[in-house]
């Protein structure tokens, strides 16, 4: 099996454009009728559903941001009555930034199809045993790949994340051939198997499908070597359904976007102007088929390049590079979204001045997360136990806010590096170099 849905995946461009246009007109009408906050946005711009005749009219529509979704938490952007929904998933974010995505059965079916396409694109079939080591639950990783695996007909091992001993035992005993998880967990599994004396050619794995956090070409090579597999990238956001919006094929040259279900645009993050194909800019998605959580022109904040260049795999879907960065200040650390503003909030609440610096690095293929905090007079004491107690309280408050625990270092006042008087808030030492050679430039 080369494609999961050959007709869609290899559709000639003219046909694809026609299909997208038809679906867009319908989706805009659906949103305008059922999603009040987006209707207001359209009304403010003076755009009516009748003004949208096809994909060429897409730039007339207003953008949607994560902030918009958060402001209408939880059901503001719901496109159908709640009773028609069968599931929610939610972003990894924190209380303040959580977005709840709703799904009808139709939406789940399409999402799982997208994940199934991703699995088949790596050479997967119903002969495979697919181990899902993404977290299950609100996180879309586990649910998406689990569903896609069922659709392909793989024997699915719903391991969820963690419990490395059990992961390895089931992988070996049941002969898992495809592994789905975050790239950092894949790297960790590789290390753990090495420690247990299992050589790369002794495990049954053939393929890995990794996503939900940024990773580099070097990391791909390291994982491929340590697990003896081919490692493929998969992309998605909870807001757009989850993983599977875009996926890598066996050519391993960028990710194909499932264009029969999503329109991708790249814009200038400053002006909002749509950029021509091949330009580097912020990725914007418009859903075409979603019922429960239809999003028009959703700004992902991920920076990438799109290319229509013909792919040797035969798929006609446009390809995107791995995200090359963000157009906002969000960091993705161990798969969790972290905003510097959240750290500032915690510091102020805990009685510190907001003089801090976030240092992110990648050691042994796993993210390190350190926060330097300048000591404040009010928080200083003459005993170590009092200060370490305060440090622990700070870490606990950070963990409660962010979902992951940083290492906090209290440092002397004015010791944090400043650039033109402004403290340098984020130092990201992870070298996230994106392969763009295939773009041919």
């Amino acid at each position: 099996m080369k494609y999961f849905q050959e007709k869609a995946e290899t559709m000639p461009l003219s046909e694809l454009r026609k299909l997208q246009s038809e679906k867009l007109v319908k989706q805009v009408r659906h949103v305008y009728e059922h999603v009040a906050p987006y209707r207001r946005k359209m009304d403010e711009l003076g755009v009516k559903p009748e003004d949208i005749h096809g994909i060429e009219d897409l730039p007339k529509l207003p953008f949607l941001t994560k902030g918009d979704l958060r402001d209408e938490y939880p059901t503001g952007y719901l496109g159908v009555p709640m009773k028609d929904c069968v599931r929610i998933q939610s972003t990894s974010g924190t209380t303040g930034r959580r977005v709840v995505a709703f799904y009808t059965q139709h939406d789940i079916d399409l999402w799982e199809d997208c994940c199934a396409r991703a699995i088949v694109a790596t050479g997967g079939s119903d002969e495979d045993v697919l181990q899902v080591a993404y977290g299950y639950g609100l996180f879309t990783g586990g649910a998406g790949l689990n569903g896609g695996s069922h659709r392909v007909g793989c024997l699915t091992l719903p391991m969820s994340s963690g419990n490395t001993d059990r992961q390895i035992q089931f992988m070996m005993d049941l002969g898992a051939t495809i592994l789905c998880c975050t790239p950092s967990y894949a790297a960790y599994l590789g290390e753990s198997m090495k420690e247990r004396g299992i050589a790369p050619d002794q495990n049954p794995l053939r393929v890995g499908i990794f996503g939900a956090e940024p990773w580099t070409e070097e990391m791909r090579q390291a994982i491929e070597k340590s697990l003896g597999i081919k490692a493929y990238d998969i992309y998605g956001l909870t807001e757009t359904s989850g993983p599977g919006v875009a996926f890598e094929c066996q050519e391993q040259q960028g990710m194909h976007i499932n264009e029969d279900h999503f329109i991708a645009e790249v814009i200038d993050p400053e002006t909002g102007k749509v950029l021509p194909e091949g330009s580097k800019g912020e990725l914007v998605f418009t859903s075409l088929d979603k019922e429960a959580f239809p999003l028009l022109r959703y700004r992902t904040r991920d920076i990438c390049i799109l290319s229509r260049k013909k792919c040797a795999c035969g798929r006609t879907f446009i390809r995107m590079t791995k995200p090359m960065g963000r157009s906002d200040d969000m960091l993705i650390i161990r798969g969790v979204n972290v905003f510097p503003s959240q750290i500032e909030t915690v510091l102020l609440k805990e009685g510190y001045t907001p003089n801090y610096q976030i240092v992110v690095d990648r050691v042994n293929n796993s993210d390190t997360f350190d926060i330097l905090v300048e000591m404040d007079e009010a928080m200083f004491a003459d005993t170590v136990s009092v200060i370490t107690g305060r440090e622990k309280a700070l870490v606990a408050a950070m963990r409660a806010m962010l979902g992951i625990g940083p290492t906090v270092h209290l440092v002397a006042p004015h010791s944090i590096q400043r650039s033109e008087g402004k403290a340098v808030r984020v130092i990201d030492k992870r070298k996230l170099v994106t392969d763009t050679q295939w773009l041919g430039k």
């Binding site: 000591m375 200083f380 004491a381 003459d382 005993t383 170590v384 440092v411 002397a412 004015h414 010791s415």
Partner: protein, 143 residues
Amino acid sequence: MALNQLSVFVDNTPGALADIAEVLANADINLRALSIADTERFGILRMIVSDNRMAVSVLKGKGYIVKETEVVGVKIGDQPGKMAEALKVLDLAEINLEYLYAFCARTERHAYLVIRVADNQKAEEVLTAAGFHMIEDSDVAKL
């Protein structure tokens, strides 16, 4: 009327202590005693100095975080066993030490313990009852 100690937050970086010493030296401040509590990430420098007010002012002027804490200063004989004697008194009164350091005077044959406990008053009471003498800030300059 007690003994006041200065504590300064110090980064665990090369030269951090030298900088503080220089600030104090430039202000002509004499150190009577000091101790450092260090962790992997930071240190707390604790000092008994000749002029607290001046020391606080010059250190804060240089951006340091300084705290003044009342501690118990006990005069003991500069002979073996004297510290044990004083600590025994605190132990019997069930007073736990947070930390302690000591120094010898230049001018007399005595040593001094700087003791940090939760309840200074109680510690001073039991030590005085056992025949020990306490020192105060005003004594420090003379030592």
